[in-house]
């Protein structure tokens, strides 16, 4: 497989698309890792979690046919569990590594579209008002559910850790 497949406007082969998502997820996580002042030595862990998150999400979206919210939940759960297992080897707090890994999944585009849709309502004629409102509400709900799914997926392994086996 040529490495130049990444330069195609839209990778056609499913495997190419899969790798494209993983590399972009890893790059985004590394970039945000630097923004959060994570040391250079620990950035590969950020790349690993970002790539893993996008791999799981893409797998659930493309191969299992799940929706975005369920896929994001599964990805966050896998990332958080992996970070919990690898915690001793990394030099970063679990919370930060979890978040950096899942940041590429935060639906920033939906959030922007939702708020812009609300703005558009003020300048839309009555004929398109209902359509615009419906779209804006749909985006808002998708943002809420996706962020909720990511947060819940991240929290579950950490919360399970505190459950006592014996009373």
């Amino acid at each position: 497989m040529s490495c130049f497949y990444l330069l195609h406007p839209e990778p056609a082969h499913p495997l190419e698309y899969f790798f494209h998502q993983i590399i972009c997820g890893a790059l985004a996580a590394v970039g945000f890792g630097v923004l959060f002042n994570i040391s250079f030595r620990s950035l590969p862990w950020c790349a690993l979690t970002g790539g893993l998150a996008l791999a799981v999400r893409s797998c659930c979206l493309s191969y299992l046919g799940w929706n975005l919210e369920a896929s994001s939940f599964a990805a966050a759960l896998v990332v958080s569990t992996t970070v919990l297992v690898l915690r001793a080897r990394t030099d970063i707090s679990q919370n930060a590594l979890d978040v950096v890994g899942c940041i590429p999944m935060v639906p920033g585009m939906f959030a922007a579209k939702a708020i812009l849709g609300m703005f558009a309502l003020t300048s839309t004629d009555a004929g398109h008002g209902t359509e615009t409102l419906t779209e804006a509400v749909q985006y808002t709900l998708r943002v809420m559910f996706t962020v909720g799914a990511i947060g819940t997926g991240l929290a579950i392994p950490a919360l399970m850790r505190h459950v006592r086996v014996t009373k």
Binding site: C24, F32, L35, M109, A111, L116, F119
Partner: protein, 253 residues
């Protein structure tokens, strides 16, 4: 007060409530407290320390909540040392001051390039085409540089978010259009994704799940307001570009 200062620094470094609770208790017990009760608010921390039948309550204001992972890690390590090496109050205070002043940050240039790369990668995930990806990288890097400069001059966080969103999306849109990108609107959105408050967003939820609904709600409201200010900047950029191009381009995705 030393334990409270550690808590304040942790909060300003982006830690969530349960971590702050545990680490402040570690500092306080390591320095001799028998009972520790901490109340974590969005803008202040209050602690009650008990030794024997005596108790004392102190409060501390918390500054701007940013994210600084290296400082967070150093504070956790110092907490371990306080317990393991029985550090004195004066020594611990000295170490805290050293951490506050000496913890290194990445240079502005490294941060700008990293954020540019991250936004370009985000852009690809949002299906921005290749002609639009380059401008996203450059505009997000410029946006991050400007944001850092503004925040270092104590500009209001929300106004700063609006201004950077306007600047980055305007540059991203202009660049993508001039390079004949077919995804100008997406390039504009990808250029401002550096401003999405990811850590506060996840912290808000984890705080509520950990039993700190007040702090979690305050964080959630702050995230919502920040997003509104970011969207205002993006909207203004769209208005400017649409008026320049006089409807020649559909900017609404």
């Amino acid at each position: 007060m030393v334990a409270l200062d550690a808590g304040r620094m942790l909060m300003e470094a982006g830690a969530n409530a349960s971590s702050i609770d545990a680490i402040v208790a570690q500092y306080a017990r390591g320095l001799g407290a028998e009972r520790v009760d901490l109340r974590i608010g969005y803008a202040s921390l209050a602690i009650t320390i008990g030794i024997g039948s005596n108790g004392i309550t102190r409060m501390r204001e918390v500054g701007h909540l940013g994210v600084n992972q290296r400082l967070d890690l150093e504070l956790r390590r110092l907490g371990d040392r306080v317990v393991r090496e029985n550090l004195t109050v004066a020594h611990t205070r000295g170490e805290l001051e050293r951490l506050a002043n000496k913890t290194r940050r990445h240079s502005a240039l490294v941060m700008a390039v990293a954020v540019g790369l991250a936004c370009a990668a985000f852009g690809r995930l949002l299906k921005v085409d290749w002609p639009g990806t380059g401008p996203v990288l450059v505009s997000a890097a410029i946006g991050q540089f400007v944001r850092r400069e503004l925040l270092s001059r104590h500009a209001n966080v929300f106004l700063c978010a609006s201004f950077v969103a306007f600047l980055s999306s305007l540059l991203g849109g202009l660049g993508a259009h001039s390079l004949d990108s077919e995804t100008v609107a997406m390039a504009m959105i990808a250029s401002i994704l550096l401003l999405v408050p990811g850590i506060p967003c996840v912290n808000a939820q984890s705080d509520i799940l950990d039993g700190h609904p007040t702090l979690g709600s305050a964080r959630a409201v702050t995230v919502a307001v920040a997003l509104i200010f970011v969207a205002v900047g993006l909207w203004l950029a769209q208005v400017v570009l649409e008026s320049c191009w006089k409807g020649a381009l559909e900017l609404h995705p």
